[in-house]
Amino acid sequence: MSEPNTQMKSTGELLTVPAVPPRVAGNTLLENTLPIIVALAIAAVVGDLLILTFGESPATVYRLLVEGTWGNAYGIGQVLYKATTLTFTGLAFALAGRAGLFNVGAESQLAMGGFVAGVVGMLLPAGTPGALGLLLCLVAAAAGGATVAAVPGALRARFGASEVIVTIMLNFVVLALLNWLVSAKIHVPETLHTPPINSGGVPRLSDLFAAFHGSAANWTIIIAITAALVSWWYLFRTRGGYELRAVGLQPDAAEYGGISVPRVIWVSMCMSGALAGLGGLNFVLGYKGYYEEGFAGGAGFLGIAVALVGRNHPFGILFAALLFATLSQGGLAVNALVPKQLTDILTAVVILAVATAVPEVQRQLRAAAANALAAFTRASAQRLATQRPSTKDDA
């Protein structure tokens, strides 16, 4: 989605005759943002209703939600911490999504990435320089996630097996495997976590900004932002990214254009898994300093929501990760008044609403655009009949 220069005008404007033909089908800013706004509005209404059934005032609950998240440094720190993991899983889903693939396995790829990073950090000798340790853990996390995702990628590329089903099934397999490894092989007695890492730890944000004290926010967030920038650059500025998007949009045409579709599918799944795996660094290196059973805690599935709201665009994902992190942390802030599951419901409602609003709003906008195009054509014909139009055609 390199920013198109023919940006969609508002629906009202389209009904009049524009000087330049409107884009009938394209990823325009309006097509991407309008459904999100509609979806958030729907979620807000559902939230109001639920709060009212609990006999509380929506205004009070929402104020508490905002105060408990963005109202103090600890809350902001917690939101940033949660957004960091969600950025990685959101990017993972989006990258595969751009290739036309559904990676529903980010949950287990995240867990595997965290586990491998934790084990590598644990095995490193105590004197290893921090930077080297971090680099090794980073590579390990990416490799761990990529390995898990390589399986559905290969099965899809080679046999056409549905990557949706394989990633879901593999979630259970990988999580059971990790559970066995941790409970039966490597764990600190009486716990379900591995021994602490010796090197590669990522400092907390509170080391530099004392106000964040107590929050889990750490410098992994820089790695997350870098991952978003690199993903954007890869998707929209490189040949590989171009091929990936071509396969996602129209595999047959891509194949005809000389792109090896199976290779692109496999490579995109591996990259997607690597991104999800990197998410494990946030908890393992940045927060606890060890791998703990169940740390992923649904962040892999929330990545789907993040990618959906971020419209599969790396920069949109950074925004969406903050949104869902706010909801997740906000649940804890309002728990005294309404069950914290309120925000989990809102999260699910946002996903459903976005999933339904995107095709619907796009249909409406495209119908409007098609009408406008027809009107434009008619008007041009009339204008041609009298004089040569002075418009420049950018098609």
């Binding site: 059971a176 039966a184 999260t347 699910a348 999933a355 339904t356």
Partner: protein
């Protein structure tokens, strides 16, 4: 351990799988991906506990399960059929929604974070043989006949012929005057009802609702649907096979021959292998996941 006891326990474990898998077959055969089975089961379990608690009878519990399951199926139908939302996303969202909604209402209605109070189930409480007593539960019998009945419905009735046509080639179905949307809605509702009964069985069998009590059974049912290649009788065999493996694991718990985690993996690994087509390829209905 006698063979009879093994068989009875396998059937008990298999009932929710059989019901949910029947729902999954119905849904997928009309072209809608059944990723929401887990959520539908969980809503059925919650509805059953609510109905049984307030109605004082497990029969009202069954009605509650159907009501809750059908409401959730309605959400699914509106999103996928009316608005053509992506079925994978909607399925995942539905599962998240039901987990959150049941927890929310658990606190609202029963003021508990983890479980409902004890609710009436189907008979047999004072009976000597608890294993046999659970067969007094009518849901067991519904579960046992669900997939064979679905096989008959799909292959012996006009509805079944149309349903399969819609799932394989909706364009062709349209030219024959079949209302694809209406037929998919019927398939979804029937599937949702079956899956919610699977959840109801769990809640009524344990005499309460506990948070997240379906514990991935919806996904095992989905695995059975795929491993059984969308054919009702094969799917039934897959459910019994998965349940048998679980029974074996429970019986052998003391022996520690194989770690329990590896037994848990069996359904999923078998399904992945089936999809890869190593032995007899599993091929989905042609129009699965495609609306328009």
């Amino acid at each position: 351990m006698s063979a009879i006891a093994f068989l009875l326990q396998t059937i008990r474990i298999a009932i929710p799988y059989l019901l949910a898998a029947a729902g999954g077959v119905m849904s997928e055969r009309v072209g809608i991906i059944a990723l929401g089975l887990e959520g539908l089961m969980l809503s059925g379990a919650f509805g059953a506990a609510m109905g049984s608690y307030y109605g004082g009878s497990p029969w009202i519990g069954l009605l509650g399960a159907l009501a809750a399951g059908l409401v959730m199926t309605g959400v699914l139908a509106i999103a996928t059929l009316r608005f053509k939302a992506n079925q994978v996303v909607v399925g995942v969202a539905l599962n998240l929604l039901v987990v959150a909604v049941t927890r929310f209402f658990l606190r609202l209605v029963f003021d508990s974070a983890s479980n409902s109070p004890r609710v009436p189930g189907f008979g047999g409480e004072g009976t000597a043989n608890a294993m046999l007593a659970s067969f007094a539960n009518p849901v067991v019998w519904i579960g046992l006949v669900a997939l064979p009945a679905l096989g008959w419905l799909l292959y012996q009735t006009p509805f079944g012929l149309r349903a399969r046509a819609v799932g394989e080639k909706p364009e062709a179905a349209v030219t024959l005057g079949i209302n694809v949307g209406a037929l998919r809605l019927k398939g979804l509702l029937l599937g949702g009802a079956l899956a919610s009964l699977g959840g109801a069985y769990l809640a009524l069998d344990q005499h309460q609702f506990t948070d997240g009590m379906t514990a991935g059974r919806g996904f095992i049912a989905l695995a059975a649907v795929i491993f059984g290649r969308w054919e009702p009788m094969r799917v039934a065999v897959a459910c019994l096979l998965f349940a048998g493996a679980e029974t074996l694991q429970i019986q052998l718990q003391g022996a520690q021959l194989v770690p329990s985690q590896f037994v848990e993996m069996i359904p999923y690994v078998l399904t992945i292998v089936a999809l890869a087509g190593v032995v007899g390829r599993s091929v989905a209905p042609a129009a699965l996941g495609k609306t328009e």
